[in-house]
């Protein structure tokens, strides 16, 4: 049972502030993923929780007790890194048993614990080998085994599968998730890979330049991004973002992209939901490729557009459509649009549309 809380954490490296007023509460058994580009402060945050970095201001609480002044060894937290850090002269068995040496457990007890964790990680057949005889995936399994064997309060992982090749990475990702489902320990996991984050996390914490951008379930982060950074960091291909002008009367609303003659139809409710923004500040429309609906027929609400480039990706196509001076990328069925230059019709699915304040980059939280 471990809760971790960060309150008003600030951290400087010299004059550079790498963590800016970070507040985060992690529930017992929760799998939290810190997601961001390199240099965003995610690893520093993880190391601060582990006790490998001091913080300049704020509190880090484990089960309600401030630990920021405790040494790493006294926080009872296990860490797994990208580089495996196993003892090369010891067998896998000895490597896993190592953290238990200082616990005054009997040999028999240690043996039971090592074998139980090895069984969970399916590395029992490797126990007698030296690390040099192991593959990258197996080394990381052993490193995780060594981290878990002393039943720490929390497991922290820093890009643990970043150094593995694509296929192995997928396998290990599945194993880490399955291990968490079985063992259930509070986990903080750092990565720059959004698919990894979306697939592993109960909640994702997105950081950018030391500032927390959004905390939410994978679905929330994908469907309701808090700002333009999150909107364009999560999801591939990236969300379309285009400057837009909203107009309307008592019956309907339209959203016109820069340089376009006509606007996309929207429900009238958009106007009231945008409040003053419709007339005043600059707006950007955000729409994921699957929210751009393409048709061969001129139906109600569809605007004529020209296809520019078609990227066939096998199970679906990404079609670039020219709307005014913007390009909207749409996701269509494979082969739906014949070729570059094809004239088709498009509309925006209002339910999947996002509106952002161009100046601040913040989402206006419009939901239709």
């Amino acid at each position: 049972m471990t809760q971790i809380e960060l309150r008003g954490v600030q951290k400087y490296f010299g004059a550079v502030q790498v963590i800016k007023n970070l507040n985060l509460a992690i529930a017992d058994n929760e799998f939290i993923v810190l997601l961001g580009q390199s240099g965003c402060g995610k690893t520093t945050t993880l190391r601060a929780v582990a006790g490998l970095e001091t913080i300049d201001e704020g509190d880090i609480l484990i089960d309600g007790k401030p630990v920021q002044n405790l040494k790493a060894a006294d926080r009872d937290i296990a860490l797994v890194f990208q580089s495996f850090s196993l003892y090369p002269h010891m067998s896998v068995y000895e490597n896993i048993a190592f953290p238990l040496r200082a616990t005054r457990k009997s040999k028999a007890e240690i043996d039971t614990e090592v074998r139980s964790i090895a069984k969970t990680l399916q590395i029992t057949h490797l126990l007698g080998l030296k690390p040099s005889a192991l593959s990258g995936g197996d080394m990381q399994r052993v490193a995780i085994g060594r981290a878990l064997v002393r039943r720490p309060k929390a497991l922290l992982m820093d890009e643990p599968i970043g150094a593995l090749d694509a296929k192995l990475r997928e396998e290990m990702r599945a194993e880490i998730k399955r291990l968490h489902v079985r063992q259930g320990s509070t986990t903080i996991y750092v990565t720059h890979d959004q698919i990894e984050a979306m697939s592993l996390a109960d909640r994702i914490v997105i950081m950018h330049e030391g500032v927390l951008q959004q905390v939410g379930t994978p679905d929330e982060v994908y469907s309701r991004p808090a700002n333009l950074f999150v909107a364009q960091f999560v999801g591939s291909p990236v969300m379309n973002v285009a400057e837009a002008a909203v107009a309307g009367d008592t019956d309907s609303a339209t959203v016109k992209l820069k340089g376009a003659d006509t606007g996309f139809e929207f429900p009238q409710a958009l106007l009231s939901k945008l409040n003053g923004h419709a007339s005043g500040g600059k707006l950007a429309l955000g729409i994921r490729p699957e929210g751009v609906i393409v048709s061969h027929d001129k139906a109600q609400g569809f605007l004529p557009v020209e296809a520019q480039i078609i990227e066939p990706l096998g199970s679906y196509d990404i079609v670039d459509l020219k709307v005014g001076s913007s390009i909207l990328r749409a996701r269509t069925r494979s082969g739906f649009v014949g070729g570059a230059g094809a004239k088709v019709f498009a509309r925006i699915d209002p339910e999947q549309a996002h509106f952002f304040d161009t100046a601040s980059g913040q989402s206006l939280g419009v939901r239709l």
């Binding site: 990702r173 399955r178 096998g314 199970s315 996701r331």
Partner: protein, 369 residues
């Protein structure tokens, strides 16, 4: 503008055969992608066309002329590599002008200016023209490298993994940039990559190279929907095609390890036009069934039960790994599908989309027929 043909090419480095019996035909104005893993012979093929290597056997034709005796300069091809080889102390403009400066070319000053301006406009690097190249980002540097190729107006563009060193988001945007550039110029592009997404999204045609041999040539759709063998099937597509061992029994697909069964459309003789009919002759023959993840569906009443082994969340959709006994297979399902790890589910496949491969040779029955 050029039409390129390679006829019966082989290339040996000592005892090592890099290319064997290679035939390639790249039409004028075509975006041709050579797709293969490291060591497949992609770069060697490119260098043969560029004139940087000589074939051990066979001929290279440019516009119908055998160019065996032509040097690299005479072939008039432009090479763009993964490492951008720009002059660091020169500005972007100077780098772009450089290929036009040699005395032998004698391009008039006004024309140099014009070509550089056009290239810069096409590649959207006009604002960078007076910047030194060591102050550019990776994507900008690669644009300048391509610009330096464009200004020469070469007959052919040869590109060797030009996007591989860039990060994912940038690669995604440069893919469309390159494709639209090629369409604008109407030039012949030969693009070499190990990334099947690049091949699928940019190529008019793809040639899949494996161990120095062309396994299959075709449009992205042909390669994806009708792979010649299990190598192509598992190389192209992300996630790749599911390949499951089994055999046909009375027109049903019976999978070997767990004896699960699924209907097979070929049996009814309908649906899949070119697919050989699964008559008695096919019964019992060891086969590999290929099915794309998007053609595997979850349904409550479906014929086979499986456990959810993993869920990969892409936001727009989820890719499930399903486990039946020791067999795993992938299914692409809508994002709203609510499934948990170790949850039992039932699945079916789209029988019209099943591709049969011979177990022993790995070749698709559609191609061997």
């Amino acid at each position: 503008m050029a039409h390129i043909q390679l006829k019966n090419i082989s290339k040996k480095f000592g005892n090592h055969t890099a290319l064997a019996d290679l035939d390639l035909d790249i039409a004028d104005g075509e975006f041709f992608v050579l797709l293969g893993e490291t060591g497949a012979g992609k770069t060697t093929t490119l260098r043969l066309i560029a004139g940087l290597e000589k074939p051990t056997e066979g001929q290279v034709f440019i516009d119908g002329v055998d160019v065996a005796d032509w040097g690299a300069a005479e072939r008039d091809v432009a090479l763009v590599l993964q490492q951008y080889s720009l002059y660091p102390r020169y500005t972007v403009r100077e780098n772009l002008e450089f290929p036009l400066r040699p005395k032998i070319r004698r391009v008039p000053e006004a024309e140099i200016k014009d070509r550089v301006a056009r290239a810069a406009q096409t590649l959207r690097i006009e604002h960078l023209l007076d910047r030194k190249t060591d102050r550019l980002s990776g994507g900008e540097m690669q644009r300048v490298s391509i610009g330096r190729a464009i200004v020469r107006k070469p007959r052919v563009f040869l590109m060797d993994e030009p996007l591989s060193a860039l990060d994912a988001k940038l690669r995604e945007s440069l893919r469309t940039d390159l494709k639209s550039l090629q369409m604008q110029l109407g030039a012949t592009f030969l693009f070499v990559t190990h990334d099947q997404i690049e091949a699928m999204s940019m190529g008019d045609k793809i040639g899949v190279l494996n161990h120095g041999r062309i396994v299959q040539t075709g449009t992205p759709q042909e390669i994806y929907n009708n792979p010649r063998d299990t190598y192509v099937a598992s190389f192209v597509g992300s996630p790749p095609m599911n390949l499951i061992d089994g055999k046909l029994v009375d027109g049903r697909a019976v999978m070997a390890p767990m004896n699960f069964e699924l209907p097979y459309a070929g049996a009814a003789g309908g649906g899949n036009g070119g697919m050989p009919k699964a008559g008695g002759a096919m019964d019992g023959r060891p086969l590999v069934f290929g099915i794309r993840p998007e053609d595997v569906h979850l349904e409550s009443g479906a014929p086979v039960e499986a456990m959810v082994h993993d869920v990969e969340n892409h936001g727009v959709e989820k890719i499930l790994t399903l486990r039946v006994g020791d067999t795993t297979l992938r299914a692409t399902v809508p994002a709203r599908t609510d499934v948990q790890i170790e949850q039992p589910v039932r699945f079916a496949w789209n029988p019209d989309k099943v591709v049969l491969f011979d177990k022993a040779s790995g070749v698709s029955l559609q191609h061997s027929a």
